[in-house]
C-alpha cells in the first residue's frame, strides 16, 4: 500500500493535554457555531502522501458536493482539509438535467443534477485561477464522451497551477453520453485510463461506479491502465415514484443514491477492492462522522471523501478530521497503522 507512514507526535499531544477535546460519540453531528475553530484538534500528524498527493490529512470534499471550493473558502476553513475535488468538468458547458433534480429518500437522497458546469474553457478562465490560491490540495474532476475527449481535457490541465491531480468521473449515472458507460466495462475503463495517463503527468485517480457486477474487475482494469489511485463509490442508480401522479419524482426519471443509506455497500466494495489492488483507494459513500470515516480507513481506504453530509452540515468534514485525530491519539495509532487494519479473521 503506497501510503507514507504518518508521524504521530504523542509527546507533544500529552504536553498540550488536549487528548479528549473531540469525543467520537458524535452521531447526531450537531455542533455549536465554529466549534472546530474554538477547540484545537489534538496535535496528531495526519499528513499522508497518496499517489503523488501530499495531503494534510486523509479527508477530502467529494466531487459535486462543494462546487469548485473557492466559493466556500470563507465558510469552511479549507486549510483544515486534506483536499477538495471540484464538481466534474466536461469539454463543453452543460446546463444539467431538467428539475426536479433531488429527492429525499430514507437516510439519503437521489440526485439527477446532470453535471452542470461551465465547460473546460469556462472553468479554466473563471474558476481555475481561484483554485491555485486555496490552502489545500485540489483535485479536478473531469468527464468526457470518449477516451480522446478525456485525454484532451487531461492535457489541458497539465502543468496548470492549482491542479494537484485529476479524478476521472467514469461513473456518473446522470450523463447519457458517457459517464457511467466507461466505468461499466473493464475494456473501456482501462482504455480511458491509459489515454489520460498518456496525456498528462498529473496523478490520475479513477472514480468507479458501484452499478456493476464485479467492481474488483473494473478496479483491476484501471490499475492495469496505469491509474495512480481509485476513488469509490459513486452513487448507486436509484429511483423514487410519486404514487399520486404515477410519475418519477426526478425530472430525469432515475438518479444516483447517496448518503448513509449506501454506506454499508460502499464499505464492502472498498474493502474488496483495497484487498485486491496495490494502488491507493479513496473511500466514500455516506460518510457523516469520524467513526464512518475510520471504518473506511480500516477497510483499506488510504483517504476518504465526504460528500452528501456536507449538504446537511457544511463543517462535517472538518469535524471528521478532528475525530480521526482524536481516535489516533486515544489509541496511540499512526494513520498508516490504521489503513487496511481490518481483522477479517474468524
Amino acid at each position: 500500500m503506497a501510503v507514507a507512514r504518518s508521524r504521530f507526535l504523542l509527546s507533544s499531544c500529552l504536553a498540550h493535554g488536549r487528548l479528549t477535546a473531540f469525543p467520537l460519540e458524535h452521531n447526531d453531528f450537531r455542533r455549536s457555531l465554529f466549534a472546530n475553530l474554538e477547540s484545537p484538534a489534538p496535535d496528531v500528524d495526519l499528513t499522508t502522501s497518496i499517489c503523488g498527493l501530499e495531503l494534510r490529512n486523509p479527508v477530502m470534499m467529494a466531487s459535486g458536493t462543494f462546487g469548485h471550493a473557492a466559493e466556500y473558502a470563507g465558510l469552511v476553513d479549507l486549510s483544515r482539509l486534506g483536499g477538495v475535488v471540484t464538481k466534474t468538468i466536461t469539454r463543453h458547458p452543460r446546463a444539467g438535467n431538467p428539475p426536479p433534480r433531488t429527492a429525499e429518500t430514507p437516510s439519503g437522497m437521489l440526485n439527477s443534477i446532470g453535471l452542470t458546469n461551465p465547460g473546460l474553457e469556462g472553468f479554466v478562465a473563471e474558476k481555475l485561477p481561484l483554485l491555485a490560491e486555496l490552502p489545500t490540495s485540489v483535485v479536478v474532476s473531469i468527464a468526457g464522451t470518449s477516451s480522446e475527449e478525456f485525454a484532451e481535457m487531461a492535457k489541458a490541465f497539465d502543468g496548470r497551477p492549482g491542479v494537484d491531480a485529476l479524478e476521472l468521473n467514469i461513473s456518473s449515472p446522470n450523463m447519457k453520453d458517457g459517464g457511467m458507460l466507461f466505468g461499466c466495462r473493464e475494456s473501456s475503463a482501462r482504455e480511458v485510463t491509459e489515454a489520460v495517463k498518456r496525456a498528462t503527468s498529473l496523478p490520475v485517480i479513477v472514480k468507479l461506479t458501484p452499478n456493476v457486477t464485479d467492481i474488483v474487475a473494473i478496479a483491476s482494469a484501471v490499475e492495469e491502465g496505469g491509474a495512480d489511485g481509485i476513488a469509490m463509490i459513486n452513487t448507486l442508480l436509484g429511483m423514487a415514484i410519486d404514487v399520486d401522479s404515477r410519475r418519477s419524482i426526478l425530472g430525469n426519471v432515475t438518479g444516483g443514491l447517496s448518503g448513509p443509506a449506501i454506506r454499508p455497500v460502499a464499505l464492502a466494495m472498498v474493502w474488496k477492492v483495497a484487498s485486491r489492488v496495490s494502488i491507493p483507494v479513496f473511500g466514500m459513500g455516506g460518510i457523516q462522522t469520524a467513526e464512518d470515516a475510520l471504518a473506511f480507513l480500516i477497510a483499506g481506504a488510504s483517504a476518504v471523501q465526504v460528500g452528501t453530509a456536507t449538504f446537511v452540515d457544511p463543517w462535517a468534514a472538518v469535524e471528521i478530521v478532528d475525530g480521526i485525530a482524536d481516535y489516533c491519539s486515544r489509541n496511540e495509532l499512526l494513520l498508516g497503522d490504521l489503513v487496511g487494519s481490518l481483522d477479517a479473521g474468524p
Binding site: E71, A95, P99, T105, P106, M109, E126, L130, P314
Partner: protein, 269 residues
Amino acid sequence: MAAESIAPIRFESEQARVLKNEAVAAGVMRMRLEAPRLASLVQPAQFIQIQTDVGLSPFLRRPFSILRADRQAGWFDILYDVIGVGTRRLETAATGDRLDLLGPLGQAYTPPDAGRLLMVAGGVGIVPLAFLTWENDAVRETGKLLMGAASSKRMPDLDALLPDGLRVAAATDDGSSGHHGFVTDLIAENADAQTTVLTCGPHGMMARVAELTAEAGLTCFASLENHMACGFGACVGCTVEFRDPEREDRRYRRVCLEGPVVNAHQIVW
C-alpha cells in the same frame, strides 16, 4: 473571460430555542424561534435551513422563509404548512426544544425606489412579503398586499401577521372570506403603470401573476420555493429554468443562491 469574482458564500449555524409553535389556520403553523444571531442578520426574502430531526429521518434540512424578526428580543417567526415528514416533525416541537439552523441563506430583496409595490400572496407565500412590510417603511406606507387562500379556514388572521396600517385585500377560492375567486383577479384594480409586483405562493398562482403583469407591462418579481438538499448552492438541485440564457450552463439557476427572488418574466413557468 476574466477570472470570476465569486461572491463569497457566508452563513452561520445557530442552535435555536422554540419559544412558540401554534396553529394559526387549518394546517398552518407559526413558530417563534429564539436565535439572536440569525435574528440580527436575516433580511427580507432570505431563508433558513432547519434540521427538523437530529437523526437520519428526515435526512435533509428544510428551508423556511422569515415572517418577522425582533432583533432586540432575538427571535424570529416562520409560518409553515404541515405537508410532509419534515413539517410533521416540526409540528411536534414544543416550547424549549432546540433546533439546529443554518442561515441566512439566499439573496435579500430590496424593492425599487420608484412606484408602489403590490404584493400578491398565496397561502404561506405571505411570509417573505410580510417580512418586507415589517422591515421596509416605504413598502409598509405605500404598498398593498393581496392575500389569497383556499378558504377562510386556511386564511390566517392577517392582523396578527402584518404591521398595523398596511393596506390589505383578501380573496378566497370558495368566497368564505373577502373576494370570491382568485387573488389574481384583484391585481388589475390595484395596479397602475408605475406599480412593481412582487409575488409568492403556489406555482400556478405565481405563473398567472407573471402572465398578467407581462400583459400589463408591469415589472414583476417572484419569490420562489423549491425542494433543496443544501440551500447554499453546493448541490445545484433547486434549479429553475430561465429564458434567453446567456450561456448554456446558465439555463438553470439555483433558487437558493441566485434567488429566491427572480424576475418573474425571465423564467420558464
